[in-house]
């Protein structure tokens, strides 16, 4: 069984925002909600690095731990999904998430905070596959179509890889061996690291 993961190669990301556009288009995400975004470190400075960030579908997801109504679940493929019918929009998951993934649409008056929305790894949610309810609440279910997330598949430089963790790690390992640099993977320690084996952070390195 595949264990789905995202991997962003900071050496390759050119900050084109193709992944953001692909995600928005695929799921018809409204204004103000960004399931995926591109973050640039040291913007404008020579050597700047960009990474595409969304829900990393953590192995030990903090959002799941803090949710007061227990609306999160892990699929067999390791994708973290949630039931919007149960979500109360409290925002605890937003504070717990190290990647800032949970989004809250503000459609009503007085800054009303709606039900949480986040990247689903294009796996829909707890509704019948390909149903109108699933699309309206969670977006398109590409995984059930035998496809991978639109952001990763649309990435023109293949900086963003998404899919079976073993396969994408192999692809990345080959790249690093060939180019001889850029072995650090942003966010993997935080998302998929084992707490009992966490190494002390070294100055100047990425987690």
């Amino acid at each position: 069984m595949a264990r789905m993961k995202f991997l962003c190669d900071a050496e390759r990301c050119i900050e084109c925002n193709g992944c953001v556009t692909a995600c928005k288009n695929e799921h018809e995400i409204p204004w103000g909600v960004n399931r995926r975004r591109v973050v640039t470190i040291n913007d404008g400075v020579p050597g700047e690095k960009s990474i595409s960030v969304a829900c990393m579908h953590c192995s030990d997801a903090p959002c799941m731990a803090v949710c007061p109504v227990d609306c999160f679940y892990h699929t067999a493929e390791g994708v973290v999904l949630h039931d919007k019918d149960l979500c109360i929009g409290c925002g605890y998951c937003f504070y717990a998430c190290p990647f800032g993934a949970p989004q809250f649409p503000q459609e009503g008056a007085f800054g009303l905070r709606g039900k949480m929305d986040k990247c689903t790894f294009c796996a829909g949610g707890p509704e019948a596959d390909f149903s109108a309810a699933e699309f309206q609440k969670y977006g398109r279910n590409r995984l059930a179509e035998g496809k991978l997330p639109a952001c990763a598949e649309m990435c023109s430089t293949k900086a963003l890889l998404g899919g079976d963790g073993d396969v994408i790690a192999d692809i990345y390992r080959n790249r690093v061996t060939t180019r001889g640099k850029g072995a650090e993977v942003w966010g993997w320690g935080t998302a998929y690291g084992r707490p009992d084996q966490k190494a002390a952070p070294q100055p100047g390195t990425k987690s």
Binding site: A2, Y73, D83, K147, E153, V167
Partner: protein, 77 residues
């Protein structure tokens, strides 16, 4: 006489506060892993597209996974 009453009240107050202190419970929250309370979800191959064929679904996903490797696509080693 009055002094004795005040002493009794003071002793009673000390004893009551002391008893209340002994009954104080720990304020530390013990984390308890929650259990999913929402609707059940099906497997990605349990639909009209794959008709429950897990092997076909895994094959499709594997092809997509490998499609991200440009070295394989270009035929390089």
């Amino acid at each position: 006489m009055m002094k004795g009453v005040w002493t009794t009240i003071a002793v009673a107050a000390v004893l009551a506060l002391g008893a209340a202190g002994c009954g104080e419970k720990t304020q530390v929250t013990v984390f308890k892993q929650g259990k999913y309370q929402g609707k059940p979800d099906n497997q990605p191959w349990d639909n009209d597209r794959f008709k429950g064929d897990q092997v076909a679904w895994e094959k499709a996903i594997k092809a997509r996974n490998n499609g991200q490797n440009e070295n394989v696509r270009l035929g390089a080693k």
